[in-house]
């Protein structure tokens, strides 16, 4: 039976210990959006020994690029993008201190290994349910790479942002186990 947990960022390892795949997490606090182009830049900063536009310790990155906000609203629709495109950039960011990443879809074996090694989790939001995601965003501002437009890094203040645990600290993978369970080929 799946359990619902409430987590607040920045996240400590202890917060993640009892999470299991399939559990639901309601996430509150600051999270940072980054997709393909922003990831490339973050990795370049790390390689050059420069500091990131946010403190990576205990941080959560959300693979997303929002639609524009209507006047008076903090953000437009902001669902997750496919995570696999960030696979090659994820291990160094986890090593820098990230405690969770949020996206959609499967991750490669290197990411699973890096999650276990760095004691971090992979969450998924429902792809396409972008208005629901936007409902939990209370404030948002661009903190880096503004010229990338929707691919800029946004700092978003979220309240009870609903996600599922897809890879836990033991390296269990909900994609693999879920599909194995319902496969009837």
């Amino acid at each position: 039976m799946s359990v619902t947990h409430h987590l607040t960022t920045p996240i400590e390892t202890a917060d993640l210990d009892n999470l299991r795949i399939g559990d639901k997490v309601m996430l509150t606090g600051k999270i940072y959006t980054a997709r393909d182009a922003a990831h490339q830049r973050l990795i370049t900063l790390l390689e050059n020994g420069q500091s990131l536009p946010f403190d990576p310790k205990g941080a959560v990155i959300y693979y997303a690029g929002p639609a524009p906000a209507r006047p008076g609203r903090p953000i437009g629709s902001v669902g997750p993008t496919s995570s696999y495109r960030m696979d090659k950039f994820t291990p160094p960011l986890l090593a820098a201190g990230l405690k969770a990443v949020i996206g959609k879809g499967e991750r490669g074996p290197d990411v699973i290994d890096a999650l276990v090694a760095n004691r971090a989790a992979y969450f998924v939001a429902v792809g396409g349910a972008a208005v629901i995601a936007a409902q939990s965003v209370k404030a948002a501002r661009v903190i880096a790479f503004e010229e990338l437009g929707p691919e800029a890094i946004y700092e978003m203040e979220v309240e009870n942002f609903p996600v599922f645990v897809a890879i836990d600290l033991q390296g269990n993978d909900l994609f693999r186990q879920g599909v194995a369970r319902y496969r009837r080929e």
């Binding site: 437009g76 696999y84 499967e106 972008a130 208005v131 599909v179 496969r183 080929e185």
Partner: protein, 282 residues
Amino acid sequence: MKSIDVAQIIPVVKKLCIDANYYIADDVREKVNQALASEESPTGREILGIIMQNYELAASRQMPLCQDTGLAVIFVEIGQDVHITGGDFTQAINEGVRQGYAQGFLRKAVVTDPVIQRRNTGDNTPAIIYTEIVPGETLKITVVPKGGGAENMSALRMLNSTEGLKGVKDFVVDCVRKAGGRPCPPVIVGVGLGGNFEQSALLAKKALLRPLNARNPDPFWAQVETELLERINRLGIGPQGLGGSTTAFAISILQKPCHIASLPVAVNIDCHCHRHETAVIE
């Protein structure tokens, strides 16, 4: 001969871009409702419930269903007795897209070139425009906002002509299997068969436009679609790839004659935010 001014085209394209991104069609809603009743996985059912809730919220909050409001793919059927006046047809379509994406608060997702600069064009143009000359004196415009996630999972193969029906079926199922959770399942699978290299791809995209509750008009292909849908839903991928019995809502096949040496097969996948809107200018 009927004259249609480009000034009539711009607001129509603008509205189609916005409406397609805010409102999900009844045929998709119906599929989600059916899946809510039949899906075996509790997580899968929860996800389908969230998807349905998102459809309602997008309409009431006047926001795009998905932040990926796509490339604007536009099909235009031009009646052969229509004379387009007052300016450049392609520019008019792009102006409609520009206005729709700006005024609808839709995301701009086009970059200038595919490899080096990748600078956002800032207005979601150029659109991808396909025209077809048909009898009559109307202009039928269909806007398909096509997201990148599902499009990236599409594939085309030039099969050996003797690989036949089995080759086609296996390729389609493998394509959905390999895509897994990445194209945002439950998906809609468009299949283009025959023609040549590029025509099969275009057929696959056009196949996505068939209403989800309509069957293939050819009983043979209707049967193949039923069989393929069952096979795909036995893969276990489920909603968002987290496991379950609903991997696809529908599969739609379009076929054309082809070369004696060839059997082109193209698979174009669409996500559960299955968006397209049509209008006719008379």
